[in-house]
């Protein structure tokens, strides 16, 4: 009984703290906004030049001058400020964003992340992903535990070393998959540690589907989420 996309987003939302400034990637990370606890003040940053991102607009109220980094129409809040791309990435690169939640193709036990290109396929570009993982204080990956090919075969995504070109080297602090949660000691030598299991998932199932070496420390507070 793996976690659904919503359950993964809800688990990621537990990494939020009152007063956090957060950048959410496209896909499941966007859903995390739906799980911000009531009363907790979290400001969402959009790297195209906005802090204090509001919900999608009501139909008919879309403003082409107001989009997020996924090019979706959004709205502003009383707290909103706008700024240039240079100032936006100054904010990101300068370590002012507390948390970035994003998707991944592969994560290695040392915190390496690959999520922007597959050699041989048309490459669309890294956008702001390399800047985010290099600059944001804490990086949380939310992804399916394994990649499912069209023929039904499964490829592990948590690896001892990424085979795809990297987005960042030693950048991931926490990985949330549909099967569980892993903390990564990205600056040290502690490697990857399984700290939570999704409901009904066993350590054995995870071991079978994980190529990366990992330690197990279930029920302990993840070291890396002490913000």
């Amino acid at each position: 009984m793996a976690w659904t996309r919503e359950q993964m987003a809800a688990r990621a939302a537990k990494e939020l703290r009152d007063g956090f400034y957060v950048n959410l990637g496209i896909g499941i990370p966007t859903l995390v906004a739906n799980f911000i606890p009531k009363g907790m003040r979290v400001q969402l940053q959009s790297e195209n030049g906005m802090l204090g991102m509001g919900p999608f607009p009501f139909e008919g109220e879309e403003d082409p001058d107001l989009i997020n980094a996924g090019k979706q129409t959004i709205t502003e809040l009383p707290t909103t400020s706008y700024f240039s791309s240079a100032d936006s990435f100054g904010m990101i690169r300068g370590g002012h964003i507390d948390l970035s939640i994003l998707g991944a193709m592969q994560v290695a036990a040392n915190g390496d992340l690959a999520n922007w290109m597959i050699p041989g396929k048309m490459v669309k570009g890294m956008g702001g992903a390399m800047d985010l993982v290099a600059g944001v204080k804490k990086v949380v990956v939310v992804m399916e535990h394994v990649a499912k090919a069209k023929d039904g075969t499964e490829e592990p995504k948590l690896l001892s070393a990424c085979s795809l070109p990297l987005t960042g080297a030693g950048v991931v602090d926490l990985v949330i998959t549909d099967l569980g949660v892993f903390a990564i000691d990205k600056k040290g030598t502690g490697g990857m540690t399984l700290i939570e299991l999704a409901d009904g998932v066993t350590e054995d199932e995870i071991k079978a589907k994980t190529e990366a070496p990992f330690k197990v420390a279930l029920g302990q507070a993840p070291r890396s989420s002490a913000a």
């Binding site: 739906n34 969402l44 919900p55 999608f56 607009p57 890294m126 600059g135």
Partner: protein, 245 residues
């Protein structure tokens, strides 16, 4: 020496030459200088290098210049929203240099501010750092990136006065302010042309010194790439939530 030109074609007359490097503002289709891009197409100049975060979509923005094969090279962070791009790239007609978005923004800002090179954490340990100097400062690794400076920059602003002072609107600001500083010749299209003194001097995003020519485009066609909305009854939906339509 009036900076205001009658239209985009007049504003660009004689400026665009084969082989030039041109910066074009905008993020996706938001805040793109679409009318000036059309005038660049009409100039017929070939072998252009474009520095722009994206490459437009089919038939819109820089997509127009892909149709006419006027672009030889793109320096961007994210492309491929248009099929023609992929096609020309895969056939080898089009050269492509990917920059991380923040590195691209900072390279442009540096070029405009007389900074020939700077160091950044972004891209260390990735193929972006290949062939570049990597250096340690205070125990961390950084890669050296170079400033960018173009022959021409074309930008889109919300308001502009005859002195060239510009104000951008919401997320249509994006790359426009830095690009305005980083070219020998910056041409701006503005939705609202006003007299000097009408814009609060504390709220000018681009001082007039950076803008050499200005054209009034009162009714730009603004396209939306991803129209996302929420239902009226779900007024309490938290930030960024909703459905894609």
């Amino acid at each position: 020496m009036d900076k205001v030109y009658a239209d985009a074609r007049t504003a660009l007359a004689g400026l665009v030459k084969d082989g030039m490097t041109i910066m074009a503002g905008g993020f996706g289709l938001c805040g793109i200088p679409d009318t000036l891009i059309e005038a660049i197409r009409d100039s017929g100049a070939k072998n252009l290098t474009f520095i722009s975060n994206n490459a437009g979509v089919d038939g819109v923005g820089l997509g127009l210049l892909l149709e006419t094969r006027q672009i030889r090279k793109m320096i961007s962070s994210y492309v491929g929203e248009n099929k023609l791009f992929a096609q020309q790239y895969l056939s080898g007609e089009l050269e492509l240099e990917f920059n991380p978005q923040g590195t691209l923004a900072e390279r442009i800002r540096a070029g405009g501010a007389g900074i020939p090179a700077f160091f950044t954490k972004t891209g260390v340990g990735t193929i972006i750092a290949d062939g570049k100097e990597v250096r340690e400062f205070d125990g961390e690794q950084y890669v050296m990136e170079r400033g960018l400076f173009a022959d021409i920059s074309v930008v889109h602003a919300w308001k502009g006065d005859r002195e060239g002072n510009l104000v951008y609107r919401k997320t249509a600001r994006n790359f426009n302010p830095m690009m305005a500083t980083a070219a020998k010749m910056t041409v701006a299209q503005v939705e609202h042309l006003v007299e000097p003194g009408e814009i609060d001097p504390d709220c000018i995003h681009t001082p007039g010194i950076f803008v050499k020519r200005l054209v009034h485009v009162s009714n730009p066609v603004k396209r939306i790439e991803q129209r996302t909305t929420r239902k009226r009854e779900s007024a309490a939906t938290p930030a960024a939530a909703g459905e894609e339509v």
